[in-house]
Every structure is written in structure tokens, then in C-alpha cells.
Amino acid sequence: MSKKIAVICGTGAATSTIIMNKLTKFLEEKQIKARTTQSNVNAIANSYEDYDLIVSTTHVPNSVTTKVINAVPILTGIGADKVYDEIEKELNS
């Protein structure tokens, strides 16, 4: 079964749009089947249990027990490869 990823930022508008776009391309290239949903941090506080992985550009409260990967390096390009590796590892686990 394909895993479910939430791509989030503070508003669910700006940076999550960029990350969503990049992540979709990455998953296609790697032929990883996963379902991605764009959301914001307030919504995820109540729905995190629906997801296997959260990819976020903002701080996520500790009450969220789903694995969170910080995606800010994808925005700056500095350390982006490490983030992609971590996402891939998490999806293959």
C-alpha cells in the first residue's frame, strides 16, 4: 500500500506549494508510489494520524507523533540531498 505524506507549512500556501512540486517530481523520478496532500500546521495537529510522514517547512508541535522531516533545505538548496535521502529512507521503511 502506498504511503501517505502530508506536505505542510504555516499557511499551507507558499512554501508547501514549492515543496509539493519538488517532492512530486522526486517521487516520480524514484518511482516511489506515495500519496501526497498539501496542508498547514494547524490542520495537521488534528489529522496527523492519517499520514505516514510529514514533510514540513515550519515547526510542528510535539503532540504530533507522526515522523516529521524538516524540508527547509529544499528551499535553499543547501543540504537538500540529505533531506531527499531521508524522505526516501522513510518511505521505504
Binding site: C9, G10, T11, A13, A14, T15, T17, I18, N21, V41, S56, T57, T58, H59, N70, A71, V72, L75, T76, G77, I78
Partner: protein
């Protein structure tokens, strides 16, 4: 010139001491030019506290923004700070980054403005263009730089 530059509403060289002043100075222009509602400024400042937008790129930048409901027309206001001011780092609020360029983003429909966001990301990853932009003197020069940005990888 490319369509992307239509979003760039203003370019300002600014002498400020705090991030609030920087955001305020750019927001005023967006408000007066009819891009954003009166509520935009306070919403951006509030959001910056909770979800900071400083980015430690090759040149420190920040991309303050807020919910689409405060926006009338999509726009980007660019401010180059004479003396960098600290912003908290996106995703890591315990850390600060000295910000030289502020990109105040007014997003209306993120999917429709994906081109703008991608260009912005391309810019963040391009040290040379960031330095050029930080040395720009007017809106025309800034627009020229934006039109040469490759899409971020």
C-alpha cells in the same frame, strides 16, 4: 521582459533596525497600491512570530507572507536592507539569520503563482543573482535580475 516580473510591485532599499520595520515598510506599498487588505500587515507580523521565514541562503533572506484571505492581488515586494536584521529561521525558530533581502509575498492562489514561487526558489539557490539583487538600485534592475533566474532544482 518575462511575465514573472509583473508580480514585482516594488523594490526598496531600506534602512531599518528591526524585522517589523522592514515588513511594515514593504507592506505599506502593497496596501497603498491595492494589492493587500488593511489586515495584511498585522497578519504577516503575527504569522512571522509563530512561523518565522528567515532562510540561511548564500545571502540571508526572509520570505514573510500570510493567509490568502488578506490578499487582493498577488504581488511581491522586495526590500534590500542597508544593515541586515535578524529573522528567526524557518522551521528552526531557536536560530536567527541575519537577513539582507526581504521578499514580502502576497499570495492569492498558490497554484496559479507557482511560477513566482519557483523563480523565488531558484533565486534563493543562486548566490550570484542574490548578490546582484542586493546591489540593485531600482525596480527596473531588480526586474531584470528576476527575468534571468533559472527555475530552482
Amino acid at each position: 521582459m518575462e511575465a514573472i516580473t509583473r508580480y514585482i510591485a516594488t523594490f526598496k532599499q531600506m534602512e531599518v533596525v528591526t524585522r517589523e520595520e522592514a515588513i511594515d515598510g514593504l507592506s505599506v506599498v502593497l496596501n497603498e497600491s491595492g494589492y493587500v487588505k488593511e489586515t495584511f500587515l498585522s497578519a504577516v507580523l503575527e504569522r512571522e512570530k509563530v512561523h518565522p521565514t528567515g532562510l540561511p541562503a548564500a545571502v540571508g533572506v526572509a520570505i514573510p507572507h500570510t493567509d490568502t484571505e488578506h490578499v487582493l492581488k498577488p504581488a511581491l515586494a522586495v526590500g534590500v536592507l542597508e544593515n541586515p536584521v535578524p529573522f528567526q529561521v524557518m522551521g528552526n525558530p531557536e536560530e536567527n539569520v541575519e537577513v539582507k533581502i526581504v521578499f514580502l509575498l502576497a499570495m492569492k492562489e498558490p497554484q496559479a503563482q507557482l511560477d513566482l514561487l519557483q523563480k523565488l526558489m531558484g533565486l534563493l539557490q543562486n548566490e550570484e543573482l542574490l548578490i546582484q539583487l542586493s546591489k540593485s538600485e531600482n525596480l527596473e534592475q531588480a526586474k531584470k535580475i528576476f527575468s534571468t533566474i533559472p527555475i530552482g532544482e
